[in-house]
Subunit: 443 residues, 2 copies
């Protein structure tokens, strides 16, 4: 896939905040999202992030219709006149790609008329609340990091850490859609049943081992009909774009409830999404080979294997988790990075997850979210959840100021961040998925 | 809870087909559903079943507004002007209860004017297609029959049949909402990964052990806010009504994929619902004590225990599964009953499932569906899936004409039916959840 003008690293915008080197949202990114102006009673609106602003697509198309011409762009603009991205996603890759290119042209610094025509379509990010990007019909969570699966397995099943199916089946399960929340939604510590190995009976109370999981989510664009499959060669055409997912987890609840049907209340109290959907088009310069399976691992089964997927099924995203205790916040200290890893460590590519999900005919719908599972790498500093980082609490983290953490405490803020860098490409970012832990409801 | 006029067993309707003793939909039932007139391009409409007809609520309220007065009934009628029951469900129990009572009065044989005023609101069932009753935001499947859990466990984990959490935790998992289909939707045999105990590697192909599961589903009425719980004393107020659920399952796919995160592709290719939602109000005469735990079982934890739930948390529903091969169909033979059981065998009540689901703050929304899990009883003839009935194929079923079945074959029709009977009450039925198995897609 050739890179095009939208990826050119030297391109600048007349929205000057986008040109700052540290900006996550330069003109080369233009992720889609949904927002509402603070204090307004208006319906949610569709926009793209540019520097420190949101570019309101419907307003822009009204102010300068001549910049949004052509059938595909017109269809895409019309699909943005909703309170969520589902309609745009449902159109498939091409209309969104062309709309993104038209927006890039409209925001380009070299266009002398653009700022005058379009400045009124910009809203400062400080003036908006960012919402969930889509109405998520179904949310699926995978388990695609072999490092995560091995670490967790060795804690929960010491004799049987990595199960025999792992290298054949992209393991996944259905998650809860209703409790997906946008960034900056506080997360209440759940109450649940817990039973330690030495307890005679379970007890009920607030989770004592609340955790985060740092994941990447892919929003489905064009769906498939019930009964149809999505061959691996087509899977990328069904992927609209990516976001960050914090799959908050109550480990004590999980350990007691998860057999034989998987996690349930341990996960369904909240899942936090980052607000911006970075399109697969924006990610083109950062594609990478699929995971290189070590000698002795089986090859992927034929339906999960193409040369194209092997050559560039991966995405080189750097992911960082940051923690901030309430004491740190009181002292004015920023969230502290506690791990950093790469999405190239994943055993399965996103395209393999999409293809596997539909192999039995399950219909994926526009706006469905498939999350990767915790992104962990081979070294300790690359572990994407506290369960792994602290080895179930045995090796607590130390925060600035000397506080220690086995698991999350009330008042802790968890912030996921991510960015992509590559030689010859402008760095782009994902924004953050952030939430503060609130005390459990009193019972 | 006192029975009221809507339950009186001698009440008759001017819709005379409702008065036939074998009718599932007498005036004492009046289940809600969603339909579209065959051949019409209209939006789906909300109605109730009466005898062999559907009573179109919006049309009735237009023809005879004086019969649908009062604030609660007016609100309920307005909520029926949608393409699904979600808005009516969201109002909670009282408006739907009053609307059902008003409809019963309007359909009562003793009202000399009613037929003249309202006959035009009736549509013969043969002239409609019945659709899903609601937009199901989230579907959860439980595992609430201890007989089913024990049978399945002894096949999949001979040394460890019933896991230690079973009698404390109402085990459940999130299912797939997108592939829920209304009755009479054909079900395509899924392709998946299967691996027998003696296979060196998994293979990909059509499931060789396709199964049904006979379950009861409860539609959530009024929801709860994220972070709030639903105490057991309130749980029934969040339950709108019940339907039948066939949780089609590919057992070979399930056995290979389900560890450690639960069933995924084994279940998400199709789930069939019966079309009519029998309200909790219509079920009042059939309430029964909760399961009587044998000596030695732990008492339910306090959050899952009230005297009221113990006394009448159960529902006495008889469930029947019928099979019809294509050869039987060609010979004009009806589906053959292969098992019959009672919903009173369930270890957990529906109210306990609702309360457990929300105990960590998970938000349930109007129209969400919670299914019970396979309803199996203590004897062989009461087993609610083929895995149990044939003991994983070891004891095949024999159908009329001599065909045998270890699992489902292409062309087989599975039909779930259910009814309630009690002394002093009119018998009511659920209608059917039916589907024919189609051959796998050629690959």
């Amino acid at each position: 896939v050739p890179l095009d003008a939208t990826h050119h690293p030297d391109r600048q915008s007349w929205v000057t905040s986008a040109n700052a080197l540290e900006s996550e949202f330069p003109i080369q990114n233009l992720p889609f999202g949904v927002f509402r102006r603070l204090g307004s009673a208006e319906s949610p609106r569709v926009g793209v992030a540019i520097g420190e602003c949101v570019f309101d697509i419907a307003v822009a198309a009204r102010l300068a219709p001549q910049r949004f011409t052509g059938e595909a762009v017109g269809t895409a603009v019309a699909a943005c006149a909703h309170d969520a991205l589902n309609a745009l996603m449902a159109l498939g890759r091409e209309p969104a790609r062309k709309l993104r290119a038209a927006i890039a042209d409209a925001l380009d610094a070299s266009d002398a008329d653009a700022e005058g025509e379009l400045a009124a379509a910009l809203v400062p990010m400080t003036d908006v609340k960012l919402l969930l990007p889509a109405h998520i019909g179904d949310y699926t969570d995978f388990y695609a990091s072999v490092y995560h699966a091995t670490n967790v397995g060795s804690m929960f099943r010491p004799d049987n850490a990595l199960l025999p199916n792992y290298k054949y089946v992209p393991i996944g399960y259905h998650g809860r859609a209703s409790s997906m929340v946008p960034t900056d939604t506080p997360v209440q510590r759940p109450v649940g049943q817990r039973k330690g190995p030495n307890d005679l009976e379970p007890t009920v109370g607030p989770s004592r081992s609340l955790d985060y999981e740092c994941e990447v989510g892919v929003f489905i664009g064009r769906g498939n009909t019930l009964g149809d499959t999505i061959p691996l060669t087509d899977a990328e055409q069904h992927m609209f774009g990516l976001c960050l997912v914090n799959d908050w987890s109550a480990r004590d609840v999980q350990a007691w409830e998860y057999q034989p049907l998987g996690p349930f209340l341990a996960k369904n109290f909240a899942t936090t999404l980052s607000p911006w959907v970075v399109t697969m088009d924006a990610l083109e310069p950062f594609r990478a080979p699929a995971f290189s399976r070590p000698d002795g691992d089986p090859a992927p089964l034929p339906y999960l294997s193409t040369p194209e997927n092997e050559a560039r099924g991966g995405v080189n995203i750097t992911l960082e988790v940051r923690l901030q205790s309430s004491a740190m916040r009181a002292r004015g200290e920023p969230p502290e990075p506690v791990s950093r890893t790469s999405f190239t460590h994943m055993y399965w590519t996103l395209a393999q997850l999409v293809t596997h999900h539909a192999m039995g005919g399950c219909n994926l719908r526009a706006g469905d979210l498939l999350a990767s599972g915790t992104v962990s790498g081979p070294t300790k500093g690359e572990r994407g959840c506290m369960l792994e980082l602290t080895w179930r609490g045995a090796e607590p983290l130390t925060l600035p100021g000397g506080e220690t953490r086995a698991f999350l405490e009330d008042g802790d803020v968890v912030e996921l961040a991510a960015w992509c860098e590559a030689p010859g490409a402008r760095r782009i970012g994902f924004g953050t998925a952030r939430g503060v832990v609130l005390a459990a409801a009193s019972s």
